[in-house]
């Protein structure tokens, strides 16, 4: 069902019945799901999916695997706690929520731009290394810094506003808020991928040298992509801090940073639906793996799942679905799909050529 929506991504507003079905399901979900499933599973998956979407956008369309997207989201979460109100008594300047949120998102976008400017002169694995270093450095920084970031403890008591008589942290309104944000960015990324900027970005991914020869500025394309990705991650970060009600260094720790990568890769970097698929799988596994194995060993399970996907299906669950579908529907067209899959394969596209 999801996969079909992903595949028909060529016409997001189109007439594909599978899309309608998904839309109806997502809109009606809180009506039949319990509060736990609406909030802890539904809303949380949408938030993580949105953060991972920013990585998918960078990696899938831009060929830049940035591990700092969680850091960007976490930065927005910290800004909410620092400029808004919190119950810890450190910082908490008490600015109105709309101003804080706007500054948090803009700040996250600018931080992402800065990270992009640092790493965009390098390619491929260098980008991974530099962004990972930045992410870990940010984690150690917020943990050490008590003046602004309140160190190890972090902040608690960060509340979403009560607006139009609705308390936005109640499961149902919060779910719809997350759904609206996720859907907005999903379609924005789809639309953006076919804009001239998006096409330019994909050209940069496929062959930076040729693009440069055409007179297009490779560096600025990459940095602008980081700006957009930062805005997406930052918005999700605002939702995340409202979801948790608190923010501490653990939120931007290596575990979470890697989790976002895991979500994006498990889902598939080929289409913007991928991160949401990955997020649903991840959150379900996180909540229900406890029934199968010791909760303590969750990381082993998720690590193994990640390893298996990377080893055997580099294009994630989306790739699994596409292969299964093509095998069922078009046994003869397998070769064709194979060729197509190769062309879309982000690995071959984004691994830097040795010159």
């Amino acid at each position: 069902m999801f996969g079909a929506a992903g595949k028909s991504s060529a016409y997001p507003l189109g007439i594909n019945p599978a899309i309608l079905l998904v839309a109806v399901f997502l809109l009606g979900y809180p009506l039949f799901a319990s509060d736990f499933f609406t909030f802890q599973i539904g809303a949380y998956s949408l938030i993580l999916g949105t953060i991972a979407l920013s990585l998918t956008m960078l990696a899938g369309y831009g060929g830049m695997v940035s591990l700092a997207q969680m850091t960007v989201a976490g930065f927005a979460a910290y800004v909410m706690a620092i400029l808004g109100t919190n119950s810890v008594g450190v910082m908490g300047l008490g600015w109105p929520w709309w101003l804080t949120a706007a500054i948090a998102i803009l700040g996250a976008a600018l931080l992402s731009t800065f990270i992009g400017a640092i790493s965009a002169r390098t390619e491929g694995i260098y980008t991974i290394m530099i962004t990972l270093a930045i992410a870990v450095a940010f984690f150690y920084f917020v943990r050490q810094n008590y003046v602004i970031f309140n160190g190890f403890t972090g902040f608690a008591g960060i509340e979403p506003p009560t607006l139009f008589g609705v308390y936005w942290r109640d499961p149902m309104p919060f779910y719809y808020l997350c759904l609206a944000v996720a859907a907005f960015f999903y379609f924005a990324v789809l639309y953006g991928s076919r804009s001239s900027f998006g096409l330019g970005l994909q050209a940069v991914r496929d062959n930076p040298r040729r693009v440069r020869a055409l007179g297009i500025n490779v560096f600025s394309h990459r940095v602008v992509a980081y700006f957009y990705a930062g805005a997406i991650a930052g918005t999700a970060g605002v939702l995340l801090v409202w979801f948790n009600g608190r923010v501490s260094p653990g939120l931007v720790g290596v575990d979470m940073v890697i989790d976002i990568l895991v979500i994006a890769v498990i889902g598939g970097l080929g289409a913007p639906i991928g991160p949401f698929l990955g997020a649903v799988a991840f959150v379900l596994l996180e909540n229900f793996a406890i029934d199968l194995i010791d909760r303590e060993r969750f990381n082993t399970v998720i690590g193994l799942a990640f390893l298996l996907i990377v080893l055997f299906s580099p294009d994630g669950m989306l790739g699994l679905w596409r292969r299964a579908e093509s095998r069922i529907r078009l046994p003869r067209a397998n070769a064709l799909w194979g060729a197509r899959a190769n062309r879309d394969d982000w690995h071959s596209a984004s691994s830097p050529k040795r010159m």
Binding site: I130, Y140, Q144, L261, S351, M355
Partner: protein, 332 residues
């Protein structure tokens, strides 16, 4: 020519100032400005020894990358696993040196396994190799947590390396006129010595032996080396074994100087990453320079402005990337 003269002049002046700071008895105004001399000298030595430890970890990382273009993000896990294994063996046999040897060997073998089972199967697919090593490090961290729990382990310092040495550096002169000398732990100085020895050993290995020649040839042009009749896979396995083994070795050496606990894998992975980004990927000399810079930055940051210590490391990395994206000694 002019510029070079200026650079040399700068280096000489800097070295002279540093020597003066170390050996002279500080006047009062200097103590008022930057604190006691003892803090400064101890921080300097801490930084240099930490740099030595970082070099031990990062040199393996950079060696593997230089030859095979494999970014092994499980390198930190190898450090931690080496520490744990060394600890178990040292506890069981009572010999620290035996633990060190076993840690080196076991991690070297695990490196070969990784190379044969994973990297060889996806040669040239760098991004995928990187992702696989991330997966491995997630699992490894979790399994190590299961086996060794969250406890912090501390090695017993080996016999003969215990205690402190008195350095020929005067910190203050007492009012009675008797000089007070600065003391420093013997073991930490040994760490520095080991790092220097490993650095020289690697240099000799790479520049003065036949296998080292093959390694350097492989760095420049892998296909040409294979075409001239060298078993490249064997060279790869050997280099991977040395690189991984050094991580395990560093795990015991570093675990004794500091301690081993969950989370150390990430710390040393970060250190390796920053060191090779600053020093230049693939260059052992670069790793030495980078390790020294980062070790000093970290210790001086911790001593003089604790809440912003990480920022200093970060600023060095960004500064180097802005001026030389390929790192100080890196080549493209």
């Amino acid at each position: 020519m002019q510029r070079r003269t200026l650079v040399v002049l700068g280096v000489v002046l800097f070295a002279a100032a540093l020597l003066w700071l170390i050996f002279a008895v500080w006047p009062d105004w200097l103590i008022d400005a930057i604190g006691r001399k003892k803090t400064f000298v101890t921080t300097l030595l801490n930084g240099v020894t930490l740099g030595g430890l970082y070099f031990l970890v990062a040199s393996g990382f950079t060696l593997v990358f230089g030859l095979m273009r494999n970014v092994n993000l499980a390198h930190g896990s190898m450090y931690l696993l080496g520490g744990y294994i060394g600890y178990e063996v040292a506890e069981a046999t009572g010999s620290w040196f035996f633990g060190l040897a076993v840690a080196f060997l076991v991690i070297a073998v695990s490196g070969i396994l990784l190379q044969v089972a994973i990297f060889r199967r996806m040669e040239g697919d760098e991004l995928r190799q990187t992702l696989v090593t991330i997966g491995i490090s997630i699992i490894a961290a979790d399994l190590m947590l299961a086996v060794w729990t969250g406890t912090t382990y501390q090695f017993d310092t080996p016999e003969g390396l215990y205690g402190a040495v008195v350095l020929p550096v005067i910190s203050v002169i007492k009012s009675s006129g008797a000089p007070v000398f600065i003391k420093y732990p013997m073991y930490r100085l040994t760490v520095l010595g080991v790092a220097v020895a490993v650095g020289i050993g690697l240099w000799v290995f790479l520049n003065r032996t036949r296998v080292g020649m093959m390694v350097r040839a492989g760095v420049n042009d892998r296909e040409m080396l294979a075409a001239s009749g060298v078993n490249v896979q064997l060279v790869f396995a050997l280099v991977f074994a040395i690189g991984a083994g050094l991580a395990g070795f560093a795990g015991v050496v570093g675990g004794t100087a500091l301690s081993i606990a969950p989370g150390e894998d990430i710390r040393y992975l970060l250190a390796s990453l920053v060191v090779v980004i600053v020093g230049g990927l693939g260059s052992v000399t670069g790793a030495a320079i980078g390790a020294l810079l980062i070790g000093l930055a970290e210790q001086f940051g911790l001593a003089y402005f604790p809440t912003y210590a990480v920022v200093l490391t970060f600023v060095i990395m960004v500064g180097v990337l802005a001026i030389r994206p390929q790192g100080i000694m890196g080549t493209r």
